[in-house]
Amino acid sequence: MPPNTFTINGSVREMNIWPENTTFPEHEGKAEFVSYCGICHSLKYISSQPDFPRKTWDAEVHKMIAKYNAPIDSVTGKKIVDYLVAIKSKP
């Protein structure tokens, strides 16, 4: 069970969320993937996915940019998709 603590001090409640420690294989594009994808959510969001074809990863990264306003330009976006395909793709 991940470590987290809950405290109640009078009327104040506080919670400490567990630290992240997902590791990823070395491959071209890893730096872009880690720094950009990790802005809005932990990288476990990706490691918990099954393998997908390039088409699906392309659509997901595009969704992050178009719908969630991820600050990723097209060059970086392609690097990230290439990385995802390298580590988690199926034909």
């Binding site: 809950f6 009327s11 992240e20 959510h41 476990k44 918990s48 600050p71």
Partner: protein, 350 residues
């Protein structure tokens, strides 16, 4: 619990916990959309804001909610729109839930109808939107805001809950207030709720218009090669049934009675029957239903099974409700929402 993701957190309830009629708070599934969730709050300074097309804008403290309104309770199933997503084939991107993104709880709070009556809804208001205190990491990330038709908001069943199973709502599940929309998927059950806006126009926002869309047909169905061009927001809980006993991979002893148990649920219509098959759907037998806990609670079903020969068995379960609805053999949609295709379970008997 199973940690699907950590920031924002998503935790899944183990299947054996679903053998309890009421899901304990410490095992209740967790799902947030935005990474900056509430991690520290002073309840004395917390306020619920009622704004918009009302005679009197309200600022309500927790004490106001507990003393100025008659409390109401409901036992209602909370189920993630994407519960069981990992069972869709072909697989789809998204939180890879098994069957554990669901829980049955007794929710206590104030009827939204009563809060809106105190504010006085103006003529011409048609929608109500709901926002919590969670935020995205960047300003461009869409705020998590959901909306309901005014008539739904005023139906007397939608609750602003401040208690879950007799305790304040856990912080991971939306302390201090959670919107409870019985019979609808939990995407509408806004956590850490603090803003209610009454609107004269239809609400438009990412989490209502772009996210949580399903194919516009009664079965909410589509195929990977032929995605539906029209979509509508996902709303009512689909009729579905699952096994909670035995679990996948369990071994059963030949010639000994074995309890087979599960749950059936939908958007509030009475479950009429639940049938189980031990031969991959060739023949079906009716199971025994537990008494109802409430129209929005899940319904537990049970039967005893004494397999006469060893081997691999392929069990299935399907529910029928009083509206004549039953379950399809197959179902797929691009987002893995609203699973309702018949559940299968492989069991080895020796």
């Amino acid at each position: 619990m199973y940690l699907l993701t950590d920031r924002p957190p998503q935790l899944e309830t183990p299947l054996n916990i679903l053998r309890q009629d009421i899901t304990p708070n410490e095992y209740f599934f967790v799902r947030w959309h935005l990474s900056q969730i509430v991690t520290k709050i002073d309840i004395d300074t917390f306020r619920l804001y009622i704004n918009g097309d009302v005679d009197k804008q309200l600022t309500l403290s927790m004490n106001d909610l507990k003393t100025k309104f008659a409390p109401d309770s409901v036992i209602a199933l909370a189920i993630c729109s994407g519960n069981s997503r990992s069972t869709f084939s072909p697989k789809v991107p998204g939180s890879q839930w098994g069957n554990g993104a669901m829980g049955n709880a007794k929710w206590k709070g104030v009827r939204l109808k009563d809060i809106l009556a105190m504010a006085g809804v103006k003529n011409g208001a048609i929608n109500v939107s709901f926002q919590g205190m969670d935020k995205g990491a960047l300003p461009g990330v869409p705020n998590f805001v959901k909306s309901l038709e005014l008539s739904h908001a005023m139906d007397g069943e939608v609750l602003v809950a401040y208690e879950m199973n007799g305790e304040p709502i856990p912080m991971l599940n939306g302390y201090p207030l959670k919107l409870v929309v019985p019979g609808w998927y939990a995407t509408y059950w806004v956590g850490s709720l603090n803003t209610v806006n009454v609107l004269a126009d239809t609400f438009h926002g990412f989490w209502m218009d772009k996210a949580y869309q399903v194919a516009k047909n009664p079965a909410l169905n589509e195929s990977p090669d032929s995605l539906s061009k029209s979509t509508v927001p996902l709303t009512n809980i689909n009729l579905h049934s699952i096994f909670v006993e035995p679990e996948p991979g369990d071994t059963v002893t030949v010639n000994k009675p074995r309890l087979v148990e599960g749950l059936a649920f939908n958007d509030g219509a009475r479950i009429q029957k639940v049938e189980v098959s031990f031969d991959n759907g060739k023949t079906w037998m009716e199971t025994k239903l537990n008494p109802e806990l409430g129209k929005y609670s899940w319904r537990r079903w049970k039967c005893d099974w004494t397999p006469k020969t060893a081997g691999r068995y392929h069990l299935c379960v399907k529910a029928t409700d009083e509206k004549g609805r039953t379950q399809p053999d197959k179902q797929w949609n691009r987002s893995g929402y609203a699973r309702d295709f018949i559940e299968h379970l492989d069991v080895t008997v020796n």
